[in-house]
């Protein structure tokens, strides 16, 4: 295995060529011990590739590398391994190998990816959390990219729903990027989830890695949910990949004037599924048929008149205290008092100083 690991480490030879070479020679051990002359004769390798391989023989020591991997308790799963996710074999450009901390999605379980913009509104974040939680409760594995914004919310939702969730990184699995998600990173591992990457341990988070990891996110999933995406969002790349791989795409509709929902609305126009409620999605996935009349309890909140007056003016997009005071025509002190009441009862959240959203 150490030779296989050594061979997978050679980043500058592309996956396709590595695949051919290994097929041709049988095992990586043969590649390690082959002479340069023979390598030169292989038509699909150019001079540079040969040089890279020969160089790697000198500089990388398979024993040391493998020992290091074991020490970090990272699993190495090459494409020919039994463990390698079946779903990834189907996609047009499968990764040569996966590096995994924790576990990989179980074959029998449904997998859903929750993706979206890093710079998101509270609206997108709220629904990412909600979908993550509901899906996890129904034993669906939630897959995302550990990024800021929607990705993080999706993971967090799944953790709240006591399910396992999997993060696919654009760097080595031993690196937590972004750093502030270290808490999330450890929580995912603690809750039987996994951190996956096609990049060898120690690979830094370089910009060009991220579109590549997106194809794995969609590849691992049965369905891709786009929660919030601007017109040029990276999530739309994921959606494109998902389409190429034949996955179903769902998008969360947003207000037509919100530039951060424009990508989602565009997807719906192009024929993506529309996310109306987690229950409906679960029904469409064939997991949990809709039970009628259950999802109306939200509107049955018992509030006192004044609080109701303020609450009715709130929405998932932030509104500030002065706006609310103006709309309700109440003195600001009173509005503030009602808002704190609502906040303590868990109906609203203050997301920035005196800016409120519904929960």
């Amino acid at each position: 295995m150490k030779y296989e690991y050594w061979f997978a480490q050679i980043a500058r030879v592309n996956d396709r060529k590595k695949y051919f070479l290994r097929e041709y020679l049988g095992t990586a051990k043969d590649i390690f011990y082959i002479e340069e002359m023979k390598l030169n004769k292989m038509e699909f390798l150019n001079e540079q590739d040969v040089n890279t391989i020969m160089q790697a023989k000198k500089t990388l020591d398979p024993d040391m590398l493998y020992k290091d991997l074991k020490k970090k308790s990272i699993r190495f799963i090459p494409w020919f391994s039994e463990e390698f996710p079946e779903k990834l074999c189907e996609i047009p450009t499968p990764p040569y190998a996966l590096y995994v901390k924790g576990s990989i999605p179980e074959r029998t379980k449904k997998t859903v990816a929750i993706v979206g913009a890093r710079r998101c509104t509270h609206y997108g974040e709220k629904y990412a959390l909600e979908y993550g939680e509901k899906l996890a409760q129904c034993d669906v594995s939630v897959i995302s990219g550990l990024a800021r914004g929607i990705d993080g919310a999706g993971h967090r939702g799944a953790l709240m729903g006591k399910g396992s969730t999997y993060a696919v990184l654009g760097c080595g699995v031993d690196i937590c990027y972004p750093r502030e998600h270290i808490g999330l990173y450890t929580d995912i591992l603690r809750q039987q989830g996994g951190i996956l990457s096609e990049f060898p341990p120690g690979t830094p988070p370089v910009g060009c890695n991220f579109p590549r990891r997106n194809r794995i996110i969609s590849g691992l999933s049965d369905v891709v949910l786009v929660m919030e995406a601007g017109e040029k969002s990276g999530s739309l790349i994921t959606a494109d990949m998902a389409l190429e791989q034949g996955r179903d795409i769902y998008a969360l509709p947003g207000p037509v004037n919100s530039s951060l929902s424009r990508g989602c609305n565009q997807l719906i126009r192009q024929g993506a599924g529309i996310l109306l409620s987690p229950e409906r999605l679960l029904d469409e996935l064939g997991i949990l048929p809709i039970s009628s009349g259950e999802n109306t309890d939200k509107n049955k909140k018992v509030l006192e008149t004044g609080e109701n007056m303020v609450y009715s003016r709130l929405c998932p997009y932030p509104k500030n205290l002065s706006q609310l005071a103006e709309e309700t025509d109440l003195p600001p002190g009173e509005v503030l008092e009602k808002l704190v009441s609502l906040e303590l009862q868990g109906y609203v959240k203050e997301i920035s100083k005196n800016y409120y959203v519904t929960l």
Binding site: P332, E334, L336, V340, G346, I351
Partner: protein, 510 residues
């Protein structure tokens, strides 16, 4: 008589040190020697004094002159010794009788033509002279009105050295400056009023609460949301100053040489808008012999710090002590100096570097940038700003549609009522406002009922409050109850106070 002595004074920090100016003119090698721990501007007096005496039509004989300023251990600074030195020399020369300068405090800077120019620090010096039982002060004409504010001492304003000479030798009669009544009355200037601000009811309410309880205030809002405008109007709703307070502030301004001769008594609470490039010394006071800084100039008034995160962190941290103790202690090799600094701190900051957060349509900041921006202020400092309110962007509709709100005097009335309640409650203690309550006094003055305790307990866990914010919330709810003229703190007061709690940096971090 070849020796004489004249009384003068200098300022050390805020204290007045009396200085005896001694002159000796005798035969010998002609020359002018000055001793007595002098700074270079005092030493330069030699040239000014000699020329001024000559240009005032008097002879200056070619003799040996020695000047001593005693006590010799006190550092002397400034040009205010010119006039006493000149008078002392003239007395030594026999031009003035020594008896006539006895028990007279003389101070002033001389021009080469013999004219007397104004100097800083007249008010505290005259006050100290009165307290020492000195009956007469001769001060520059430009400072006379300021000196005349002190009752129980004669203050004479002199325009030139010749005039002083004439007065002391009895050939010119100079009237003591009368108490500048008309100037005191006329110097109440028109102040900016809250009725100038359309809408912005939330800000006005928060300001009212803050002023009523003497709490420090933080505005969070985008540029152009009227934060500075609202802050500028705070002195206008603070309770009117007492004569004692006026004198206290006028003294500080006098030392800084900032007294307007047309309006010598400061009767409006100061508003100091400090730029974010300010250094520590500029803020708290500094120098070899320290002079008061911005926080002392804002004493009994408002200190406004706009763009809070742009200030150097170390500069903000030095504010913590004066915010707690209402004074600042500065230590130098010459000694310790204490300046008063009982001010209301009003600060403003943007929610993020571009100012648009949480409007994600327009905000271009990444969460890292926002964290960085807010990270420049320590949580300990933020915790000292008890009331925090958002300043929303002003829309055109609200500018054009909304009718004018209340004016400052209406707000001030309510503030004064709340302050009266506090004065009654804290009679006999050192506490003046709710903001000054110490933790151990909260139990006594901010007693909560069962329902109120339950509410605050719920808030504690639900909102993740810290012990410090909890205390601040109690104080602010006490103030809101006082504004409401309620005996005890109710649920609604606490709820509103919770709404004003200090920003927590994790809001933005998410």
């Amino acid at each position: 008589m070849s020796f004489s002595t004249v009384l003068s004074a200098s300022i050390q920090g805020l204290k007045v040190e009396f200085v005896n100016v001694e002159a000796d003119v005798s035969n010998g090698l002609p020359g002018f020697h000055m001793v007595g721990y002098l700074s270079s501007e005092v030493k330069e007096a030699a040239e000014r004094v000699r020329t001024a005496i000559k240009n005032s039509g008097m002879d200056y004989p070619a003799k040996k002159t020695v000047i001593n300023l005693s006590p010799a251990t006190v550092r002397k600074r400034g040009a205010a010794f010119d006039l006493p030195i000149a008078v002392s020399i003239l007395a030594s020369l026999g031009q003035i009788r020594e008896r006539s300068v006895r028990n007279t405090l003389i101070i002033g800077e001389l021009g080469l033509d013999g004219g007397i120019q104004e100097v800083p620090g007249i008010l505290p010096i005259v006050l100290a002279a009165r307290d020492a039982g000195i009956p007469l002060c001769i001060v520059p004409k430009a400072n006379a009105a300021e000196g005349a504010l002190v009752e129980g001492i004669q203050v004479i304003g002199a325009g030139s050295l010749a005039e002083v000479l004439g007065f002391l030798s009895g050939s010119i009669a100079l009237e003591p400056e009368p108490y500048p009544e008309d100037k005191v009355n006329s110097c109440i200037k028109e102040m900016p009023d809250y009725s100038d601000i359309c809408g912005q009811k939330t800000i006005k309410r928060a300001v009212e609460v803050a002023v009523a309880g003497g709490h420090n205030l933080l505005f969070v809002g985008p540029p152009g949301s009227g934060k500075t405008m609202a802050a500028k109007r705070i002195p206008g709703i603070l309770p009117p100053m007492t004569m004692e307070e006026s004198m206290e502030i006028t003294k500080i301004y006098s030392i800084m040489g900032r007294i307007d001769a047309k309006a010598p008594l400061i009767q409006q609470r100061p508003f100091r808008n400090v730029h974010h490039t300010a250094t520590r010394a500029a803020l708290i006071g500094g120098g070899l012999i320290p002079t008061p800084g911005e926080i002392s100039l804002a004493h009994r008034g408002v200190l406004f710090l706009d763009e809070l995160p742009e200030f150097q962190r170390a500069v903000l941290e030095v504010l913590r002590e004066p915010l707690e103790e209402h004074k600042i202690r500065i230590s130098r090799t010459h000694g310790n100096y204490v300046f008063p600094a009982n001010f209301m701190l009003v600060a403003a900051l943007n929610p993020c570097p571009c100012g648009c957060y949480p409007d994600m349509e327009r905000c271009t900041c990444t969460s890292g940038q926002i964290q960085n921006y807010l990270g420049k202020i320590s949580q300990a400092f933020l915790d000292r700003l008890e009331i925090c309110v958002e300043a929303p962007k002003v829309t055109y509709e609200s500018l054009s549609r909304e009718k004018k709100g209340e004016n400052s005097s209406q707000i001030r009335e309510r503030v004064c009522r709340a302050r009266d309640i506090q004065n009654d409650r804290y009679k006999g203690t050192k506490i003046a406002t709710n903001a000054m309550l110490q933790v151990k006094e909260l139990d006594k003055y901010c007693r909560l009922g069962k329902e109120e305790s339950r509410l605050i307990e719920q808030a504690f866990t639900a909102l993740g409050l810290t012990a410090r914010t909890y205390h601040k919330i109690l104080k602010v709810s006490r103030t809101i109850a006082d504004l409401d003229q309620a005996e005890s703190i109710c649920v609604k007061h606490i709820k509103e106070a919770i709404g004003y709690r200090t920003i927590d940096k994790k809001y933005w971090g998410r």
